[in-house]
């Protein structure tokens, strides 16, 4: 294996047209992904993490969205310039994606077998029979009981957790190199969430897939990811490997996020630590650092110039003039 990255995103800018003007949902982000790595992208709603995920497959609804700048290099080749028909052979085969809502993500009027076979036959020359066998094998692998029978069932006959697991099986049925998972467990109950996350990790090992996990849940990140990007208002504010990030977060936002999440503690706190204020409106972003208004370390300089994402030590990159 040469030193080439599996996926490299360079200076990506994605703009949405709203009735009040143009909004940059993703504003000049760069990151890369190695083989069989698990990269977490974490942030609050509206930070651009889902748009980033969708852009990797060129699935951004257009209009209103548009990639206006930057490159997404998959094995060295740019996919931003790829045609829609070329993307068709790419999606599901090279990069696959699963979504937040297992209840609506499968087509209700076709059996899950039918849908799985469609995906397999889209990317291989398998006959219907072969595809079906492969689908059954996939269901066995994710330990769905009675796969021969269940393959002829419809999505509504299954629970949310099972549907999400089938989505994962479908996504991985053509051995893609990358699986993009957009909030895969947010809509599920905690006990089911654990099943689904375990499933993803297990299949990832088996197929040697790289995973990009988009979530707002730092707990899920801590348990599954190797590297983490923290996004705020369309920008990456911090990038580090997972243990560094959780042990010594450098950006004030990351730190605030880590302390403010409700978690089970030994002792009840009198008052939960919080990040004050709200996320700024993307239409009226402040000059300078976008986090300045909520930041406890803010100085005059922060309001004049936007901090670039820079290496602060050999483990962390932070976009902050005065990091911890």
């Amino acid at each position: 294996m040469n030193n080439q990255k599996l996926l490299e995103v360079q200076d990506l800018v994605i703009e949405f047209t709203t009735d009040k003007g143009k909004v940059r949902a993703v504003d000049g982000i760069s990151f890369s992904l190695n083989n069989s790595e698990t990269l977490g992208i974490v942030g609050e709603s509206g930070c651009g993490k889902t748009v980033t995920a969708l852009s990797l497959l060129k699935l951004i609804p257009s209009p209103p969205g548009k990639i206006i700048q930057g490159h997404i290099l998959y094995q060295g080749k740019d996919i931003v310039s790829k045609s829609e028909s070329a993307m068709r052979h790419f999606r599901g085969k090279e990069i696959s994606m699963i979504f937040q809502e297992p209840m609506t993500s499968l087509n209700p009027v076709f059996t899950i077998g039918n849908q799985m076979i469609d995906v397999i036959r889209q990317h291989t020359h398998a006959s219907k029979k072969e595809a079906k066998e492969r689908a059954i094998k996939m269901l066995e692998r994710i330990r769905i009981p009675n796969p021969e029978r269940r393959i002829d069932e419809y999505p509504h006959q299954m629970s949310g957790g099972m549907r999400q697991r089938i989505m994962i099986a479908m996504a991985l049925s053509c051995n893609p190199k990358i699986l993009v998972a957009d909030e895969p467990t947010t809509a599920l109950d905690v006990t089911v969430q654990a099943q689904v996350m375990a499933q993803i990790s297990e299949l990832q090992k088996k197929f040697n897939t790289a995973v990009i996990l988009v979530t707002h849940d730092l707990g899920v990140i801590a348990e599954t990811c190797t590297n983490v990007l923290v996004m705020y208002c369309g920008k990456i504010v911090e990038r580090a490997d997972v243990s560094t990030l959780f042990e010594s977060p450098r950006h004030p936002y990351t730190r605030g996020l880590l302390t403010s999440i409700p978690r089970i503690r030994e002792k009840k706190l009198e008052k939960l630590p919080t990040i004050e204020g709200t996320v700024p409106d993307l239409l009226h972003l402040p000059v300078g650092c976008r986090y300045a208004d909520r930041c406890e370390r803010v100085r005059d300089h922060c309001r004049l110039e936007e901090p670039p994402l820079e290496k602060k030590d050999d483990k962390t990159e932070v976009a902050c003039f005065y990091p911890y």
């Binding site: 999606r91 979504f99 076709f110 469609d118 889209q122 996504a171």
Partner: protein, 317 residues
């Protein structure tokens, strides 16, 4: 078996509906309807004669009794005789409905197929120029009156001021070629109109389906857009599409052809109704209203059963 029990229950549930339709037609056409006494009697009838005829026609009976007599006529399909021609209503219907079907079925089929295809195209390219053009044509189709289109198409295709390639009107059908000769222009006119409303409706249905999550999933797995459109999306949108087609069916067959058939002198049920409306021939209108309601109820049951075929989530419970 489930289907049978379900249909039976549905049928019982629709009894109030039939009841309501007959009640309204009774009130409008019989209770407040014209007094036939003077038609039956000559000039200057005596008071006694009038009362006698009133009694014979049942006018002196109370409201409910008269309604039940009317209701009995209807459920036994005994609509009597046409006021103007004296022909049995049921035989008029038997003679004219096939003609109407011969005109309306091509309209229904081609109109819907064209609309669905246009709607798929427009929905797929939504926001683009193709979509806008299709929708513009559809709005024009919606805005033109049936009467205008019928007159216009007749001028264009059937008159010496236009192409003059089809007969102006009439229905002398002996062979398939002569059938085509008489049916083409009426069908073209109606299809043009039906495209207006249908395309808009179908496009809205399909666009709603296209924006659903499962379509995004299919795209994320690389499904071909045409397969997406014709397999996934079309089947999902089939319920509202079919409902629309089936529910409009009885109205199209029995009443939708009034303007068309009268204008082109096609001897179908529409022409009969046109004459009946102009002359106030109640037995015919009464029969048409009741029949439509009956078929309507059956269509409703049919659509429910069709749902279970199309959508596995729907059960007849």
């Amino acid at each position: 078996m489930d289907t049978f029990i379900y249909s039976l229950r549905k049928f019982f549930q629709s009894i109030p509906l039939i009841f309501g339709v007959t009640l309204i037609s009774f009130v409008l056409m019989v209770y407040f309807g014209p007094d036939k006494t003077y038609d039956l009697l000559g000039k200057n009838p005596t008071q006694q004669q009038i009362e006698e005829v009133h009694h014979q026609l049942g006018y002196d009976q109370p409201f409910l009794t008269r309604y039940f007599i009317f209701f009995k006529e209807i459920i036994t399909f005994d609509f009597g005789y046409s006021d103007s021609t004296g022909e049995k209503v049921s035989s008029i219907f038997a003679r004219t409905i096939p003609v109407s079907l011969a005109v309306q079925l091509p309209i229904l089929i081609s109109g819907n197929i064209i609309s669905i295809i246009l709607a798929l195209i427009a929905a797929y390219f939504r926001g683009k120029m193709i979509d806008k053009s299709v929708m513009f044509v559809a709005v024009i189709g919606m805005s033109v009156s049936y009467l205008i289109i019928v007159i216009l198409f007749q001028i264009i295709f059937c008159s010496s001021y236009g192409l003059n390639i089809f007969p102006v009107q009439g229905w002398e059908v002996e062979s398939f070629t002569s059938y085509l000769k008489y049916v083409t222009v009426p069908v073209l006119a109606s299809v043009f109109l039906s495209i207006g409303y249908n395309t808009r409706f179908y496009r809205a249905v399909i666009v709603e389906e296209i924006t659903k999550d499962h379509v995004r999933t299919a795209r994320a797995f690389g499904t071909h857009p045409l397969k997406l459109l014709f397999k996934n999306i079309l089947k999902n949108s089939l319920i509202p599409i079919m409902t629309r087609i089936i529910i409009t069916l009885p109205f199209i067959i029995i009443a939708g052809s009034i303007v068309l058939e009268s204008y082109f002198s096609i001897p179908g049920i529409g022409l009969v109704l046109y004459d009946a409306i102009l002359t106030g021939d109640l037995p015919i209108i009464k029969a048409a209203v009741t029949w439509t309601a009956m078929i309507y109820v059956l269509s409703l049951i049919l659509t429910d059963i069709m749902y279970t075929v199309v959508d596995p989530r729907v059960t007849l419970k």
